[in-house]
Symmetry: C2
Subunit: 245 residues, 2 copies
DNA sequence: GTACGGCGTTGATTCAGATCAAAGCGGCGA
DNA sequence: TCGCCGCTTTGATCTGAATCAACGCCGTAC
């Protein structure tokens, strides 16, 4: 399940040669709470890293020594039971902030799906940054609040929805990813495998596959290939996702 | 399912006659971020209310105009599907802070289990308070982070645990409630009904009941009456909760 | 005191989704 | 080009929890 774990490649402190001013993830992340004139401070607090697809860069239970800001690629966050059962608690993309644990250890693991770039902030440096820029703390609180709302929605899905409702909800959520205040996408690619989807929505690979096939044969979606999804009948999909069937 | 909804009884602005200095919930809530000398500010920002058992005091989808701090009793937070399926996302007690929604509407409903007292902060007043006391914002971020960790744990339960594991996990979590940095309780009362437990752990009433009966006949817990629980074999319960069976 | 209604328990049966099994389908390295 | 391996799909069967059903236990209202 977990592939090998590679030591992430450390590039360099961001402050050195490539300041945050050129970061294309900044506008989408909590870093946009730091004014342009102070970007040097921000850059000096972080180091940039890259991890290959399949590599784990945060491990549940290990000392929570740092925070991470995804600047490229996508990753899955998950928890494991001792016998290997896995629950993916979220997929994260560019601009996502990870590792806000109050406890001494991480509560989840993170594994790169697509080649990931991220900025790493040590606890101490992030604390200093937050003390100097309360606006960033405000943004973090907003982000955490939004994640809490998403987590509650996911609990509803995991606790009370049928397989069909779960898959429909998942596809609709994916179609809305990344598009802010804009119409959701009709067609999009799923970066994760069927196994990842299954572990996210609390089903098995086979049930996810069968359910997708059924949604397609019902004319609600099209699946031109294993990774691409086309939402053919969004209103019907939305009704299914909400259990109105 | 939802009993009648009563308009909560408004008592008075806290600043008026009963300042926060006498609040026994303060030490357990985010309010402890406000220094004693500034308690008047805190009191003036809030109004106190009470709601009877069974009454709903926050409704999913309604404008999120305020935040709530529970000062007495306990409540359940839940989301509904249109056909009435319900997922309880959490039980909250004294000191718990509710309503941190960034969006314009509440993402959940809240209903009193036991007679509830709470302080209500309007968005504007809370914002002013947070601007003046960044320490409170820090505390809120801590609280939100902890809830996020708890939510991820609950996703693991809902997505991947068996009925037996879910009920064992739930009982252990209840046994640890309210005791901070201390040994968990061996015996305790469950304030919620079997139906509430079922909607929290994603099972039916019957399965919760049967599972409790089985745990008792296995000598792991005792259930002297419908509301009381005694943990007889905690190590075994912990193994079950983690799926080590 | 008794009738009623909500809550909890237990039993019988059903069913949605898991498990077991096998075969297609690419992509990639030799 | 071929062969292998991981991912996906599809089919057959099984099973854990849901559903359907009935009854016991209280607390409360009359």
């Amino acid at each position: 399940m977990n592939a090998f774990q590679t030591r992430p490649l450390v590039l360099q402190p961001r402050g050195a040669i490539e300041p945050c001013s050129r970061c294309d993830a900044r506008s989408r992340s909590v870093c946009n709470a730091i004014p342009d004139t102070e970007l040097r401070r921000l850059g000096e607090a972080a180091t940039t890293h890259t991890v290959a697809s399949g590599s784990t860069f945060v491990t549940e239970g290990e000392p929570a020594s740092a925070f991470f800001n995804i600047t490229g690629g996508s990753a899955k966050l998950y928890k494991l039971l001792p016998d290997g059962r896995r629950q993916i608690t979220g997929f994260v993309g560019v601009g996502h902030f990870l590792g806000l644990a109050v406890s001494a250890t991480y509560a989840f693991s993170a594994e790169a799906i697509e080649h990931v770039r991220y900025c790493r902030f040590s606890r101490a440096k992030l604390r200093a940054l937050l003390d100097d820029f309360p606006a960033m703390e405000k943004r973090l609180l907003q982000v955490a609040s939004n994640e809490l709302v998403a987590a509650q929605e996911q609990m509803l899905l995991l606790g009370r929805k049928t397989a069909r409702e779960r898959v429909a909800s998942f596809l609709l959520a994916q179609s809305r990813l990344g598009v802010i205040c804009q119409t959701p996408r009709v067609q999009f690619a799923l970066p994760m495998t069927r196994g990842d989807i299954a572990d996210y929505v609390g089903l098995t690979i086979e049930t996810v596959s069968r359910t997708l096939t059924k949604l397609r044969s019902d004319g609600l979606v099209d699946i031109p290939n294993a990774t691409d999804i086309v939402i053919c009948n969004r209103p019907a999909m939305e009704r299914i996702a909400e259990g109105m069937t």
